[in-house]
């Protein structure tokens, strides 16, 4: 059947709540309204106000409440309404959610999920389009997951809810309406496995979340021009699948990382570093990146210049020294 990513996420929540009565859903407007993106649509009606409920409008309180409930027998799933509105909860996430198991020497685990609709591409105004994954991925103790396909949205969310550790579940909001033929319930590969979404031989595009469809489109366009690009979808940023990424790059000998977030001190920087550590002797060119510019996300008027697009990806691929010419941008004058 044809399912959108939003519906798949909704189905994952519903199925998890049906299977396990300790699973709860709470946050801002997630009750009768069903969330501003309708991901929790119908859950209050089916499970009652005890299982899916609205809270006071305070993100640290929401995450803090979830910590306490996870300490005491529940598996809370909380929704942050938008990426940039999760920041009030950051202290809870960095100091408690991420560290509780460690600072109690394994005695207190926190099986909880923080859902974060993130990134741009939907014409949102200021503060509604941040790519905040690096903050979480940089914080030991969190798992960070971001689906790019409808099937993964369902399966990864089910896995996140079942996981004994806290998971920051980043939902690319421009993909909420992306459709696919999927029969639910569906299970895809587990956390820590990247997927080769399109095989290729000339270069590897490594992408995650909202950048995956861009990479796939670029690969399709490149084929027309005679370039064969492999596309790897990371799916989970933590844990990271070094093996799949490295084996792809060792085969193709070239790599471009595509990400929507700003590039400086980012997940894309981490990927580039890991690839060169593991694949140096197989590389024919430096690992390049296509990312957002290092500027605050520009709301809709200029958004299209910020988002990595197909042309920018293809331009970058052409800089991978196929004719042995180094990228002039990175030549240092002697």
């Amino acid at each position: 059947m044809t399912v959108t990513m939003g519906k798949a996420l909704n189905a994952a929540l519903r199925d998890a709540m049906r299977e396990d009565e300790t699973v709860l859903m709470f946050g801002e407007d997630v009750g009768p309204l069903g969330g501003v993106f309708r991901v929790t649509d119908g859950l209050t009606a089916e499970f009652g106000e005890d299982r899916c409920f609205d809270t006071p409008l305070a993100e640290a309180g929401i995450v803090g409440l979830a910590v306490g409930m996870a300490m005491n027998g529940f598996r809370p799933v909380v929704e942050m309404q938008f990426d940039a509105f999760a920041y009030p909860a950051f202290e809870q996430i960095a100091s408690h959610v991420a560290k509780m198991r460690n600072r109690t020497r394994g005695a207190v685990g926190l099986p909880m999920v923080i859902r974060v609709p993130y990134a741009g591409g939907i014409g949102g105004v200021e503060h509604h389009s941040d790519s905040s994954e690096a903050y979480y991925a940089h914080t030991p103790g969190l798992k960070v997951v971001t689906p790019a396909t409808v099937a993964d949205a369902y399966s990864l969310l089910r896995e996140a809810i079942a996981d004994p550790d806290p998971v920051v579940f980043m939902e690319p909001k421009k993909l909420y309406w992306a459709k696919d033929e999927v029969s639910l319930p569906v299970r895809t590969s587990p956390f820590g496995t990247a997927e080769v979404r399109r095989p290729g031989t000339d270069a590897t595009l490594v992408a995650y979340g909202p950048a995956v469809p861009v990479a796939l489109e670029a690969a399709a366009a490149a084929e027309a021009e005679g370039r064969s690009l492999e596309v790897v979808d990371l799916r989970t940023l933590v844990p990271f699948d070094d093996a799949t990424v490295a084996s792809s790059v060792r085969r193709t000998g070239r790599c471009v990382v595509v990400a929507e977030a700003t590039g400086f001190a980012s997940v894309s920087a981490e990927i580039a570093a890991r690839v060169q550590e593991r694949c140096f002797h197989s590389l024919w060119a430096p690992v390049l990146r296509v990312t957002g510019w290092d500027v605050p996300f520009p709301p809709p008027v200029l958004e299209k210049y910020q988002l990595p697009g197909v042309d920018r990806v293809l331009d970058t691929v052409e800089r991978l020294q196929f004719d042995d010419a180094p990228d002039p941008r990175f030549l240092v004058a002697r």
Binding site: A45, A60, F74, E91, A107, G192, F240, D242
Partner: protein, 374 residues
């Protein structure tokens, strides 16, 4: 299942908030010397039972001795740092005695005394302050959260634990300890609000000891009292003389049992004083008068309780001697067991970050092991 929300204009005269406001004066049973003070304003509290007061006395004597021992251990480099709660014994012990074993305690870095009163082994209780990466005790087994350092951030956890218990029909209460400085943090306010909205059985005990490191209360708030912060959230609040063990026990027992009985959260402000510097590393001469410290030392909670119990014929010289010698024995044991350098297995650094380590952590653990094997 879900009813449509209703929103109406409020009635002309809102329901009286009087039931939520704290008493005008802090509740006291004893004057500064331990003699009977005029009764409390609410007339709601009774003198705690003698047996409880005797247990409190022994625990306070023990707590103070333990606290002094811990401060001494910092001088010998056996503890990395120690924030003393000397002078706050009534709150530290009162909080614990008000709770059942099945209730939860959420302490701060200052509340090591409460930890040992809860029955946690003193060496385990001091693990964090020894400089270890973990809290030292099992929070699930002791129903005691790890000592919290980021101020007030544990308050919403107490709400979550209490609400979770209530959802299962258990009668568990959570009591969270907070300092006066901590009441300025957003998490304190969010926790009060969530507790009230979800009617969670939580007791917030603010130990107002006058200072947040060097900053006096006047810089934290312009409110009439910290207990007044409850009313805006619909949380019943109370103020108590934090150096009057009878009053503290009476008020906390009432608060805990009212929360247990389904009365919702309660905020208690205990007026007390930090007679020691913030920690052993602090220089309090830079921000306060020694005279002020001396004034507060004369309101000593142990001396007041002792005077009261002796006058009531409920404490003899032998009892006092027994309490002190038990405390000495306890301190000697702590001294002995903390005599050795704290150690730790570096391999364990990787063990509890996740339920099972990620491939990257396994890799790093192997690199460290290799380095150590050289």
């Amino acid at each position: 299942m879900t009813t449509q929300a209703e929103h109406r204009m409020p009635p002309a005269s809102p329901p009286a908030e009087a039931g939520l406001l704290p008493s005008a004066e802090p509740v006291r049973f004893l004057d500064d010397d331990g003699a009977a003070a005029p009764g409390d304003a609410h007339g709601r509290y009774e003198r705690p039972p003698s047996e409880l007061l005797r247990r409190a006395y022994d625990a306070m004597v023990l707590g103070r001795r333990f606290d002094a021992q811990a401060t001494a251990l910092t001088k010998q480099g056996r503890l990395a740092v120690y924030p003393s709660s000397r002078g706050q014994e009534a709150g530290e012990i009162g909080a614990v005695l008000a709770l059942r074993e099945t209730d939860w305690l959420f302490p701060t870095y200052r509340d090591s005394m409460a930890l040992i009163a809860r029955g946690i082994d003193p060496v385990e209780a001091l693990t964090l302050l020894r400089g270890s990466w973990h809290c030292g005790y099992d929070p699930m087994a002791t129903r005691t959260a790890p000592q919290c350092t980021p101020l007030a951030t544990h308050a919403p956890h107490a709400v979550g634990v209490a609400y979770a218990a209530r959802r299962r029909g258990e009668d568990t209460v959570a009591l969270v300890l907070i300092g006066d400085g901590g009441t300025s943090e957003g998490d304190f306010h969010e926790a009060l609000n969530f507790a009230a909205v979800f009617h969670a059985p939580v007791v917030f005990l603010v130990q107002n000891n006058g200072f947040a490191i060097s900053v006096p209360l006047s810089r934290q708030t312009a409110a009439p009292s910290l207990a007044h912060k409850g009313v805006g959230y619909g949380v019943r609040s109370e103020r108590v003389d934090g150096n009057d063990p009878l009053a503290v026990l009476a008020v906390l027992n009432d608060a805990v049992e009212s929360a247990r009985a389904g009365g919702g959260p309660v905020l208690v402000e205990a007026h007390t004083y930090r007679v020691e510097p913030h920690t052993n590393a602090d220089d309090d001469g830079r921000y306060r008068d020694h005279d002020e410290v001396e004034t507060w030392k004369r309101r000593d909670p142990i001396a007041r309780l002792e005077a009261h119990l002796r006058a009531a014929g409920e404490l003899t010289d032998d009892d006092v001697a027994a309490a002190r010698s038990a405390a000495e024995e306890y301190a000697a044991d702590v001294r002995k067991r903390l005599g050795e350098e704290a150690t730790g297995d570096p391999a364990e650094l990787f063990a509890h970050v996740y339920a099972s380590p990620t491939p990257q952590l396994r890799e790093q653990a192997a690199w460290l092991a290799e380095e150590l094997a050289r």
